[in-house]
Symmetry: C2
Subunit: 529 residues, 2 copies
C-alpha cells in the first residue's frame, strides 16, 4: 500500500492544506521522502462534526457489533503486513523483532476489548427495582449503567508507534466503549499512522460503522493539537508522552468552556527500592537485571527505572560497581527521533552537573547518530532529599543511584517522591517484613508496585494498572493499559421508571446479554423477577 500523506476523516481522505511534514529515519539518519499534509481548520472541524454525527449511531451499536469491528481492525492491521512493519521500523529506529512484538500486542489489545464487550459486565449495570408498597413512600424503579462520552481525541505516542498510537490502547478502549476516535498522528511516525488509520477505515466500512467513527489528523502538537483540544465537540482526551506536552494539553483544557476528562500519561522515573538483604544476597544479579531494564528499547519505556534507592553499605557498593560495569558493556542503540535523542543527552548532562551528583558511567554522546548510550549517576540521600530537581526524568538509558546514609533518610527520600507509574521493591522476605512501614508509604506514590522484578514490561490483562499519581498522569483514577481502560471513556446514566422496551439490553429485566449485574445490592446474572 502506497503512502498518500492525507488526513483521513471518516470514509474520505483530504489534504487541502499547504504545509507538509515528513518523517525521519533515526537509523539511516535521513528524512523519509513522503510528504504529509497538515490539516486545515476546516478539516479539523469536519472531523469533529462527522464524529459528533457518527456518535449518535455508533453509541447505539450492539456490543457484538463493536467487538466484530475491533477484531476486523486487528485483521486489517495484520493484512497491512510487512509494509507496516518496515515503515514502523524506519520511522522509529526500533528493531524489527520489537515492532513485530508490538504489532502482536496491538492486535491482542483489540481482541481483549472485543472479549470485554462480549462478556459485557464492564457497563456496571445496577438495578434497584421498584418497591410500590414501601412506606412512607414507594420506591421508583432505578437502573444505571455506563454509556459512552462522545468523540475522543487520542494523541499518538512516540515510543510505541503501534501499541500506544493510532490503533493503540486508547483508541481500542474508546471505540469499545462506543465513542468515535480522532487521532492526532505523531509527527515521528506519520507513515505508520496512515497505514494503521487506513486499516481502521477499511474495518469501519466493512463492518457498516458510521462514516466519522474514526479520523486521523496530521499536524504539530503545539498548533494543530492545541486547536483540537479546545474544540467544543471533543468530549475526552487520551495522551501518552512528555510532561511538558501533557501539561500543555491539560492547561489548554482549562481554557475550554466545558471541562472534560483528560488522561495524560506523562512519564515517570519509576523508583526502585534496593533493600539491603536482597543486595547482600546477590548484588551482581540485581545489577544484571537492572542494566538490561535500564537499556531496554534504548531506555524509552514509560516504566524505565530511572531512580534506584539503596542504603549505604558494602553490598550497595558491589551493586554500584556491577551495574556500572554492566552498563559500560552495553551497545548504544537508536533513539526514537532526533528531538528525544538531543534532550536525552542534554538532560543527563544537566543531571551530572547538579550538586553532589557523581557520574559513575556515561557512554559517549552519539547525538549526531541519533543513538543513546547508557549512563549511571550517583548521589547521596542527603542531596536527594534536599533537591526536588533530582527527580526530573531523563528519558533514555540512564539511571540515578541514591545512596542513603540510614533508614530515616531512605524513609524521607520515599516520602518526598513525586507520583509514579510504578514503584519496585527488591527485597527478601525478611526485608519486606522489616521495612513494612516504608513499603506502606511507597504504595502512596505509585499506580503499580512490583516485587523482585523490573518495572519494564506492562502486561495487557484485566488486573493491570498503568497510571498513577501526578505527575505520572493527570488522573490517577484510570489506567491506559488493560481491560479496565474501557471505563475511562464512559459515564453512568440512570433511568428512573423507564418502560422495559426503552431500556438498553444490559438493564432489561430478562438480562438478555447474560451479564453480571447488581440487583437490589446483590451481584447476580439472574433475570429480575
Amino acid at each position: 500500500m502506497s503512502i498518500a500523506g492525507k488526513n483521513i476523516i471518516g470514509f474520505e481522505e483530504v489534504a487541502a492544506g499547504t504545509e507538509v511534514l515528513r518523517a525521519y529515519n533515526p537509523v539511516s539518519n535521513d528524512w523519509l521522502p513522503e510528504a504529509f499534509t497538515v490539516a486545515t481548520t476546516d478539516e479539523i472541524n469536519r472531523a469533529v462534526d462527522k464524529a459528533t454525527t457518527a456518535f449518535r449511531t455508533y453509541r447505539n451499536t450492539t456490543p457484538e457489533a463493536r467487538a466484530v469491528f475491533l477484531e476486523t481492525i486487528a485483521e486489517k492491521i495484520m493484512e497491512a503486513g510487512d509494509a507496516l512493519l518496515q515503515r514502523a521500523v524506519a520511522e522509529s529506529g526500533l528493531p524489527l523483532a520489537r515492532i513485530t512484538g508490538e504489532r502482536q500486542r496491538t492486535v491482542s489489545q483489540l481482541k481483549l476489548f472485543a472479549a470485554v464487550l462480549r462478556e459485557g459486565s464492564w457497563v456496571d449495570a445496577i438495578i434497584d427495582p421498584a418497591i410500590p408498597d414501601r412506606q412512607p413512600l414507594p420506591r421508583a424503579d432505578i437502573r444505571k449503567m455506563l454509556i459512552p462520552l462522545g468523540p475522543v481525541l487520542v494523541f499518538a505516542a512516540s515510543n510505541f508507534p503501534l501499541a500506544f498510537s493510532t490503533a493503540g490502547g486508547d483508541t481500542a478502549s474508546a471505540l469499545a466503549a462506543g465513542n468515535p476516535v480522532i487521532i492526532k498522528a505523531h509527527q515521528s511516525h506519520l507513515g505508520t499512522n496512515e497505514l494503521v488509520a487506513k486499516a481502521i477505515q477499511q474495518a469501519a466500512i466493512q463492518c457498516g460503522m458510521p462514516d466519522g467513527v474514526f479520523a486521523s489528523i496530521i499536524g504539530n502538537g503545539s498548533t494543530i493539537g492545541q486547536q483540537m483540544v479546545k474544540h467544543p465537540g471533543i468530549r475526552a482526551i487520551g495522551f501518552t508522552g512528555s510532561f511538558n506536552a501533557g501539561m500543555s494539553i491539560f492547561d489548554a483544557v482549562t481554557q475550554r468552556a466545558e471541562p472534560i476528562p483528560v488522561y495524560a500519561e506523562m512519564g515517570s522515573i519509576n523508583p526502585v527500592l534496593l533493600l539491603p538483604g536482597k543486595l547482600a544476597q546477590g548484588a551482581e544479579q540485581v545489577a544484571q537485571q537492572y542494566a538490561a531494564s535500564i537499556t531496554l528499547g534504548t531506555g524509552q519505556f514509560c516504566t524505565n527505572p530511572g531512580l534506584l534507592l539503596a542504603l549505604e553499605g558494602e553490598a550497595t557498593e558491589r551493586f554500584a560497581a556491577a551495574l556500572q560495569q554492566q552498563l559500560a558493556a552495553t551497545t548504544p542503540s537508536a533513539m526514537l527521533n532526533r528531538s528525544i535523542c538531543y534532550h536525552y543527552y542534554e538532560n543527563r548532562e544537566q543531571l551530572a552537573r547538579k550538586t553532589g551528583v557523581e557520574t559513575l558511567f556515561a557512554g559517549v554522546s552519539l547525538v549526531e547518530q541519533t543513538q543513546g548510550s547508557a549512563a549511571l549517576y550517583r548521589v547521596s540521600g542527603k542531596h536527594f532529599t534536599t533537591n526536588q530537581e533530582l527527580q526530573q526524568e531523563v528519558f533514555g538509558p540512564a539511571s540515578l543511584l541514591v545512596v542513603c546514609s540510614d533508614e530515616e533518610e531512605l524513609q524521607q527520600a520515599v516520602q518526598m517522591l513525586h507520583g509514579q507509574l510504578t514503584g519496585t521493591v527488591m527485597g527478601t522476605d525478611e526485608d519486606l517484613r522489616y521495612f513494612s512501614e516504608l513499603l506502606d508509604r511507597f504504595t502512596e506514590k505509585a499506580g503499580r508496585i512490583i516485587f523482585n522484578n523490573v518495572p519494564t514490561g506492562v502486561e495487557v490483562c484485566y488486573a493491570m494498572q498503568h497510571g498513577g499519581p501526578f505527575p505520572a498522569t493527570t488522573d490517577l483514577r484510570s489506567t491506559s493499559v488493560g481491560a479496565s481502560a474501557i471505563t475511562r471513556f464512559a459515564r453512568p446514566l440512570c433511568w428512573q421508571d423507564c418502560p422495559q422496551q426503552l431500556l438498553p439490553d444490559a438493564l432489561k429485566d430478562a438480562n438478555p446479554l447474560g451479564i453480571w449485574r447488581r440487583v437490589n445490592g446483590e451481584i447476580t446474572r439472574e433475570a429480575v423477577k
Copy 2:
C-alpha cells in the same frame, strides 16, 4: 449540648482566631446569638497535617472497623436529638418534618455505606494469577483494587444542612473508602455543623479511630475555602452549591501544583419534556404534579424542575393555565438564607426582562421576610433556541415554560441544552415511541432520565446517579448520592508478584472477605487455586 463555636481538629477544639461568624434564622429574621470563630492559617494547616498523619493509620483499618465507625456516627447523630433538629430548623428555615426526614436520610446514608463496606465488592478486586509456563514469556501475578486517596475536603451545602453537609453523602463515602475528611462548614448552619461534627468526633474516639480522621473548619468560602482548596495535602474535593462557588473552587484547583479530583455539583435546571399525548390525556394532573415539585422546599432542591418544554397546542395552553393557577394558590415559605432569597428575586426579575419572556405568574416579592413566592414564565421555542441565557438557573420556586412551534424547534431546544443532573420525560407509550430520536438526544444531556414523574426526590440506593454533564457538575463520571459514590474518593493500585501475606485481604488467594472478584477475567467469589 451547648454551642462552643470552635473549629474541631481531630480530638481537639481550637479557636485562636479573632474573626467570628454568626448564623441567621430566616424564619424569625434574626441573627442567632452564638459566635463561631473563623479558623486561622495555622489551624487549617494543623487540620491537614493531622489528616495526613491519620491517613496512614486510617487507610489500613478493616472494612468492618470503618462500617462500625459509620454506624456509630449515625448513633451519635440520633443521640444529638431534638437539640440538633431545632438548631437545623432555626438555621435553615426548613420545617421540622423535613429536617427530621433529612436526619433519617443522613443516618440511612451512613448505614448504606456500612453495608457497602461489609459486602466489600466495591473495591473492584481483579486478579490475574501468574502463568509461569506461558510462552514466549511467563506472566507475572497481577492484582489490583481500589485504595483511598488521602485527606478529602468537603464543602457543606446550604440546601441540605444534614444530608449534604457535615455528615452527608460526601463525608460518608470518603470515610467509607478510607479517607480522612475535613469539612468546610457552611456559614448558614454553623451550629448544626458543630453538633454533627461533635457526633463524628465522639464516634471517632469511641471507635479508636486516629486523631485527625475528621476536622471541621469555620470560615467563608471565598477566603478560608480557597485557602483549603490550594493546600497541597488535600487529595480530593467534594462540593454542592452554586455554579459560581463551584467554579471558583474548580478554577483554584487549576492553580495547584498537583491537579486533584474535584466533584463540584453546581446546579441544574432539570428540563422536563412535556410530550403532547401526555398533556392531551391530563394537562391538569401534570400541572398539579409540577406545581408541587416546583415549590417543594421553596424550590431549593438541586433537582427542581426549572425548565418545561412543550409543543404549541390546546393541551399546552390548558397545562399553562392550570400550572399558573396552581402556583398562584401556593403559600410562600422561608428560604434558606438571605443571600439565596435576594438572588432568587433578582434572578427571576432578570429572567422576566429578557426578550420574549412573558410572566404568567409571579408572587409578590418577600425578600425582607426571607420568603420565596412562586413564579412561572413563558417563552417561545424561537426565543429559547437563540438565547443561551434563558438556561441560567433561578434557584427557588420558579420555572420557565418553553413552547415550541414544531417538533424541529423542540429537537433544537433539546440539542442546545446544557448538561443537567436530571431530564424528565412526561409521555404516553405512544409519545415515547414517536419521539424516540428526541429521547436519545435528551439522554446525552443528563445524569438521570425520569419517566412520568417529577425530578425532585433522589433515592439513596445502589443504582442512583446524582451527577451529570457540565455545568451540572465538574465531573460527569461520578455520583454524589447512592452506593457508587464510594468510588469517587478512591483509585486503583496494582500489586505485581506480591507475597500473599503482604496483599490486602481483598486480594489474597483465599478470599477471606468472601467478596466478588474478577479472577482470570471471570466474576467469582471462589478462592484462587
